[in-house]
Amino acid sequence: MTTEEKIKQWCPQAGTETAGETVVHVPADRLEDVCRRLHDDAEEPMDYLRDLVGVDQGEGCLSTYYQLESSRTGSRVMLRADAVEREGRAMLPSVSGLWKTAEIKEREAYDFLGILFTGNPDMRRLFLREDWNGYPLRKDYDMDSNPLDMGNEENADVTEEFRLMPDGTLERRENVVFNPDDFVVNIGPQHPSTHGALRLRTSLDGETVKKIDPVLGYIHRGIEKLSESLTYPQTLAFTDRLDYLSAHQNRHALCMCIERAAGIEISERAQYIRTIMDELQRVASHLLFYSCLVMDMGALTPFFYGFREREMILDIFEETTGGRLIQNYNMIGGVQADIHPDFVRKVKAFTKHMREIIHEYHEIFTDSVIARTRLKGVGKLSREEAISLGATGGTGRATGWSNDVRKRHPYALYDKVDFKEIIYTHGDSWDRYMVRMDEILESCHIIDQLIDNIPAGEFRVKVKPVLKLPEGVFTASVESSRGEFGVFLMSRGDKSPWRLHFRSTGLPLVHTMDTVCRNGKIADLIAIGGTLDFVIPDIDR
């Protein structure tokens, strides 16, 4: 019995939409029940909430799409629920009791669309200022309604919670984030170790961290809203700037999604190039991860080691794509330009060099007693917590959760190459670090299998400059350098998307900070932030 059939059984009113991908439409009042049954299902527990996307369907209808996956079997299902109007506000029941990651994703949907989730303990704005007017992703939002406010921003120490009482009335509660006598330190938004404009309001007891409240949005650029007024090829430019350390992979995901929707088959050669570029990007990103982590921990010399090898990759990128950091290389239908004649030789030289040099990284940092004692047993995350929090990528794999999209839902050439998914089991900072260090070698292994076999042929198939996609919902996900990067594309048959949403890899990771850092020291917090490896512009979008 498929999941859709099961849902139909539990909830006969549920409808199915088959434009694009299959979406099961569940009425709002049955949502909680259906979700609970899916989550607790015996054979195929849908315990991983990949993403939660709010959409303004037009004509005052706000809805939310839930993308679920079973960590056991890897099967996926997408639900849709339309918000119900109550006391003048659009409402849906919260699913944050089932999936912890929904806490923050529902906040995002509230922030963007004003959907109130009853039962979510924290209904504050997420990315925008607390005194922001309106909800930007609604179709009737006036882009000029919030001019630049240079005034000081006050952050409330309490959160709002709305509960739906059995008699249909709404009860408003306040949950306390910080008490007035807590010693709250702002780490960020301008701080050397937050890797961007992230702000962690941290309450301390001496050196011990008691609670962390992440405040986001300092680099929220409104990419999703901007995409709605651009043509499909134009939207590609934003993906590189989301998580600039996974530029290739992000763009790969969006291109793949659009190609899937438009029914474009890309050439074998382009697939090879994309896969190699993705893996090179992963190595570059992990090298930067190493550099940043060691710098956060106060060891400045290894920082330069990481950058030394990273520059080799950037050279390779630059020759072929013309860009060092942001390459704009993947295109709908293939890649922008053919590989440089030196590409194969240089990539081979690089993987050989990387294997020979990585022992230096381990000698100076991994083998150091201080590094071991600082990382081992610190910031533990269990497998269940990781799944519930949606912490994918190296963070999840360090807890024993096998979540590599390349293995579970292969795309490009990942089903043709032989590679190991790196899994560690302790879930501490050390394992998170080791996962990435091992993945560097594994990526080199993937590249080596492909680099000699790049087939001849077109590197790009011809695609019309202005593309119209058929109506429906389309998704794609790739394994980016720091987790599952997903694209949710909703088309109304137009030349620009109705709604384009990106699954941020970093948002669940930042949400993890509070769980992981509690009762650690300030120095641990910094080290944990380094090992979680998030990139802020990707979180804020």
Binding site: S193, E207, G298, A299, F303, I370, K521
Partner: protein, 366 residues
């Protein structure tokens, strides 16, 4: 022991001659005052020059460790004038006064830090007969004077009225006070070995062999402990928790700008030098040349090298060691720092002191 060349280089006759000449033309009180004034200026100058040298050295050393070139544009090929440019810049930078700080303490703190380090600096034995502050309890005086610096750091962190600075100050308070213990005990170990607390006396007692060789394995271990705790006292990596750039932005001196910050910056480097200088004095024989028993020709050649060269050479060697450590290791966490001190270093140094007493009583040292 042939002391002839050592005596030849001794500055004592020179200083006595200057003193006598001055006393010939003016009352002794005036002469002493004048000498003190001149010495003070010389010390401050030496302090500034050494700070510039050390900062330059640090940049070159860390450049070399980090596979990069380091400063090489400012002032000719080697970037020799880079640090003077920094000094000029920092001298003409605005000094910010904070509205909600404790003004008196806020302004006092950098001076306390620099004062502590200048006083300790004056106690170093540069050369035979050239110790500026040389008293019977000299080494105790150094320990006492350098503790004033902790006060400065605590005051700086507290008076700035900022959360980061107070965390930095509390950290350094906890750490420095702890490490002072093992530092003091290792120093006492040497004092027991040498039988004197006077700095010049300790150096003289090493004429027949440096302490690091004389005290069997004990002084060697004590030397290592001294280096670790001295490194912590100087607030340098891997013990730079009080500043911990990646955690506390700039630690206790986050709110200081201009020359006030410059004082902290200078003091950090000079404390490194003082720590190394004291290490050289206690364990490596101060300005004493290297003598190997039996090789008289070699010893005679060594004697030709003036004491100040020996002293600076040894000190810079230790400085280099400490820089090497700093640019290699990640930073420790506060509880690890304190564990290291209270659970390992302090008991170990106590044991070393006990062993040294036993050895000394039974005359088992060289």
């Amino acid at each position: 022991m042939e002391q002839s060349f050592l005596d030849y280089y001794s500055l004592e006759p020179v200083t006595r001659w200057i003193h006598d000449t001055l006393c010939g033309v003016m009352p002794e009180g005036w002469a002493v005052f004048l000498e003190g004034l001149v010495l003070g200026v010389v010390i401050l100058l030496a302090y500034a020059v050494l700070a510039v040298v050390l900062i330059y050295m640090e940049r070159r050393v860390c450049g070399a460790f980090q596979c990069r070139i380091g400063p090489n544009r400012v002032g000719g090929k080697g970037g020799l004038l880079q640090v003077p440019a920094d000094v000029l810049k920092i001298l003409t930078k605005e000094i910010i006064r904070l509205k909600n700080s404790d003004h008196l303490l806020y302004e006092l703190a950098p001076y306390l830090v620099i004062l502590a380090s200048v006083i300790s600096f004056s106690c170093l034995p540069w050369h035979k007969g050239a110790g500026v502050l040389d008293m019977e309890v000299g080494i105790l005086f150094v320990l006492a004077a350098s503790s004033i610096g902790i006060l400065g750091i605590l005051l700086a962190g507290w008076s700035s009225n900022s959360k980061y600075t107070i965390i930095g100050a509390v950290r350094s308070g906890a750490m420095l006070v702890s490490y002072e213990l093992s530092l003091g005990i290792t120093v006492l170990t040497v004092v027991i070995l040498s039988g004197t607390m006077s700095i010049s006396g300790i150096v003289e007692s090493q004429a027949d062999g440096w302490n690091i060789f004389k005290g069997h394995i004990i002084t060697l271990v004590a030397f290592v402990i001294y280096l670790i705790s001295g490194n912590a006292e100087a607030n340098r990596g891997p013990f730079d928790l009080a500043e911990a750039e990646q955690e506390l932005t700039a630690g206790y001196h986050t709110e200081y700008s201009g020359m006030h910050f410059g004082f902290f910056y200078l003091a950090e480097y000079l404390n490194l030098f003082i720590t190394s200088g004291i290490a050289a004095t206690l364990f490596l024989g101060g300005w004493m040349p290297l003598h190997v028993a039996g090789l008289d020709g070699f010893n005679a050649v060594m004697d030709y090298i003036p004491g100040i060269v020996w002293f600076l050479g040894k000190t810079f060697f230790v400085v280099f060691l400490l820089m090497w450590i700093r640019w290699t290791y990640p930073r420790l966490r506060i509880d690890q720092v304190l564990n290291l001190e209270w659970k390992y270093l302090m008991p170990l140094s106590l044991l070393l002191m006990l062993l040294m007493v036993v050895l000394k009583v039974y005359g088992l040292v060289f």
